[in-house]
């Protein structure tokens, strides 16, 4: 069974808002990142989708949060099939609930993606630190979120008379790259940089190896 290095639901930042240095279970001490954005999957069902989302997150220095229960085991071969070479770059956290995620990312705004929204995601002004939250492939997001967070629920505009929903990893890709575009984040540059408003982005370079490919 894989080890999640920094513990389940360990906070990314301490309460004072300072980067936290902790041991990753035998390796060298690592510094917590100050991510431009987060991605969270609520109760994902299909391991291949989460694997592809993890690939996108690794490629863009974006922490990935999974909210239990998961429809697969973290050692699932489909989850990691295409990922042996990028898993060391995935900063993964597993949370027992959406509330636990909210507590951990207390300074982040949650932005929810749902077919039940009327606002297009690219018309939503993303902010540094936002966490993009996606529902389960089969069940979507919980009704209480849809009822209570109406000003932060957005949709990816598709013809739902033809296709009920996009593939989860496709949705995350479209959403995350739009948010990165808005924030002028350039993951392809030698030093990952974002817009000046984000402060010192050099910390993003320190990413936590979290899910060994064993």
């Amino acid at each position: 069974m894989p080890i999640i290095s920094s513990g389940r639901s360990a906070p990314l930042r301490n309460k004072a808002g300072e980067p936290r240095v902790e041991d990753n279970g035998g390796g060298a001490p690592i510094q917590e990142p100050k991510p431009a954005l987060h991605v969270a999957l609520y109760q994902p069902d299909i391991p291949q989708n989460t694997g592809n989302v993890a690939r996108t997150c690794a490629a863009t220095h974006t922490p990935l949060h999974l909210i239990e229960p998961l429809g697969f085991h973290l050692s699932d071969r489909y989850l990691k099939r295409a990922g042996l070479d990028y898993w060391p770059h995935v900063l993964l956290r597993v949370h027992a609930s959406l509330e636990a995620l909210r507590r951990e990312l207390y300074s982040s705004r949650m932005v929810y993606f749902s077919a039940h929204a009327s606002r297009r995601y690219y018309e939503f002004p993303f902010q540094p630190g936002d966490c993009l939250v996606f529902g389960s492939e089969t069940k979507g997001l919980p009704q209480e979120v849809l009822d209570s967070e109406t000003d932060r629920i957005v949709q990816i505009p598709i013809d739902r008379s033809r296709v009920r929903s996009l593939n989860l990893a496709t949705s995350v890709g479209a959403a995350l790259f739009e948010a990165l575009r808005q924030l002028a984040c350039y993951p392809e540059e030698p030093v990952f940089s974002c817009s000046p408003g984000l402060g010192d982005r050099s910390e993003v370079e320190e990413c936590v190896p979290s899910l060994p490919p064993s």
Copy 2:
């Protein structure tokens, strides 16, 4: 074996630029669409990826062009696993070569996605009718394209020291929704509409059932 209704590499428009009405092999006569954009996959290898791209295309009224050889059969179960309900909305064309695609879409501009580009895709001004071309998962695009079409090659910005490339369907999703955003296309509306520059978009509603789920 599935039937591709309008024949292999049948032109989407006739030379006079008029929409073409043809029989789809037993069904009612259909009118060819006037698509906002096209997506083309060059020699795709992995059927699940093409299936997910087809889902995105169906959801956005975007014709999907596949350039042979394909790494799978069009009846592959993985290609269609998630797609029994959306395949009737996929306008699919199979072409023997990139040149055949170019001949068919003679009035479209080809925009190539490659890790070898320096220009970010969202800084590229897309135009109505553009065809977004993606290379094989394993081999990318042919070298002669990379050498000759340098002003129309764009990249999705990722940290390639960590991840060599994104999942193909994720790339297509990010690219296609950015182009739709730029062109102010709204697939979610009762009548699919784009920016005024695209002319009468009502024709887009007529989409060709092309790949039966049999």
